[in-house]
């Protein structure tokens, strides 16, 4: 499956070159700086909404939560109100834990065969930990970028930046989230190529977003700490985009456009890919339903009548044997035989 990540890597390199070179062509800055980002955002929002609506157009015919704890039954048995929710409150908490802390992944175990015919299941925290770091650092990085899209910059952002950069290493101050993101992406990539089973199941569409996000984080870090982008110019440009008065600022540099292009590609790619798990998790019927299947009737909108074997048909077939065995019947044997009926006693 090596072609999977080779092709993905090549794709990201091609995207890099496209933006790097393309922006220098006449009209390149407008194309990569204005047209593509707007287009990408429109595709992202519409594509995302469309996909979710498409999911919503299929009903959830049965209430099928995966119950991960004790049900609510007898009053003296303590139920697991979150892992096996018996009401909306429990479902909400379950979903929050799932979305914000990757609750299910936290359970992850690693199975190993041991000598002496033993199998062990050890708690495997790394995938959970790095996934958590990945998603959180990505979110923080994204959130921090609001400083380029708001004026005046809300105070909470400055607080977040202070926290993120509290180590005060180097100048401009090192933001932990950026490093964490790069580290987590690297981990997620390495486990894909180093763990044989995970490598076996990985597709090009698994590597591509990883490379792309790596590219985004890398170009971002490059600009902040190394090549030094004209930050006021960059913000003037991004503010132009969000106030719908786009204009090109001179001298922000090619790396900036590469960064912007990578983000645009990620946005446009998002609705058509596995990245839609962002929306999908909220729609997952094994997680977002309360385990009240026997308490409240769940209605299946397409429930249709089916052919069943009725009791009458059953009795018709077995009546004689049933009577013989002393089982009660609805109808006695039909006096089909014209002979005089036997009288009892």
């Amino acid at each position: 499956m090596n072609i999977s990540y080779m092709y993905s890597l090549i794709a990201v390199v091609v995207l890099f070159l496209l933006a790097y070179v393309g922006v220098k062509l006449p009209g390149g800055e407008v194309f990569f700086g204005v047209i593509i980002p707007y287009l990408a955002l429109i595709i992202f929002v519409l594509g995302f909404v469309n996909r979710v609506i498409d999911w919503a157009r299929s009903p959830v015919p049965f209430r099928i939560p995966t119950t991960c704890g004790q049900q609510k039954s007898l009053p003296w048995i303590k139920s697991a109100s979150i892992d096996n929710p018996s009401g909306t409150g429990g479902v909400i908490v379950r979903m929050i834990l799932e979305v914000v802390f990757l609750r299910s992944l936290f359970r992850n175990t690693k199975c190993e065969l041991k000598a002496g015919d033993k199998i062990s299941y050890e708690w495997e925290k790394w995938l959970w930990l790095f996934s958590l770091i990945f998603h959180w650092s990505f979110f923080i990085v994204l959130f921090r970028h609001l400083r380029f899209f708001t004026e005046p910059v809300p105070a909470c952002l400055q607080l977040l930046e202070k926290l993120d950069g509290f180590l005060q290493i180097g100048l401009p101050g090192l933001m932990l989230s950026g490093v964490a993101l790069l580290a987590a992406v690297t981990f997620l990539f390495l486990r894909r190529i180093l763990i044989p089973q995970v490598k076996y199941i990985s597709l090009g569409s698994d590597y591509f977003p990883l490379f792309l996000i790596f590219g985004i984080a890398f170009t971002g870090i490059l600009m902040r700490y190394f090549t030094k982008v004209d930050i006021v110019g960059a913000k003037a440009f991004t503010m132009g985009l969000v106030t719908l008065k786009p204009h090109i600022t001179e001298g922000v540099g090619s790396v900036f456009y590469v960064h912007l292009f990578f983000v645009s590609v990620l946005l446009a790619y998002f609705p058509f890919s596995k990245l839609m798990h962002l929306g999908g998790i909220f729609m997952s019927p094994t997680r977002n339903l309360a385990n009240t299947s026997r308490v409240k009737r769940h209605v299946n909108p397409w429930n249709y009548p089916v052919k069943i074997h009725t009791y009458e048909a059953y009795e018709d077939e077995f009546r004689e044997k049933m009577i013989e065995a002393g089982l009660p019947v609805e109808k006695m044997m039909e006096p089909e035989t014209p002979e005089e009926p036997e009288e009892k006693e």
Partner: protein, 134 residues
């Protein structure tokens, strides 16, 4: 995609999508109706007269924090106070006495850009703007 098909759990799904769209488009409506002029750091007359800073303008724009950092370390750790730039000109390495001597208006020179880009340098944790102090 079939368009005339019914949505199930419509209320919840639409509400969720609305929240999503509102969050995603936050910058667009946050900045609605606000003028967001790009700040232009104001040079004092003295600075204008000096024509050139410690280093060329473009370099200063991108790397001024590095220079300040370097200055601080040299002064504090090596007790050296004189900086010679590539063209041989000598400067006293001091934020308050050298930098602010020319760039007299901190608010108009430093803060204008820093605030715009939401940068909070920790220079002013220790140093004071002599003007503000008065």
């Amino acid at each position: 995609m079939p368009n005339n098909k019914k949505m199930y759990d419509k209320g919840k799904v639409v509400a969720g999508l609305c929240i999503f769209v509102v969050l995603i488009t936050f910058p667009f409506w946050f900045n609605l109706g606000k003028a967001a002029p790009v700040p232009e750091p104001k040079l004092s007359d003295k600075a204008k007269a000096a024509k050139e800073c410690v280093m060329p303008k473009a370099y200063m724009k991108a790397e001024h924090m590095q220079i300040l950092n370097e200055w601080r370390d040299t002064v504090v750790r090596d007790a050296k106070r004189i900086y010679t730039n590539p063209s041989g000109k000598k400067f006293n390495m001091s934020l308050s006495n050298t930098c602010l001597d020319c760039h007299t208006e901190k608010a108009e020179f430093c803060d204008a850009c820093h605030n715009y880009a939401s940068v909070t340098p920790y220079c002013w944790d220790c140093h004071i703007d002599p003007k503000e102090a008065k």
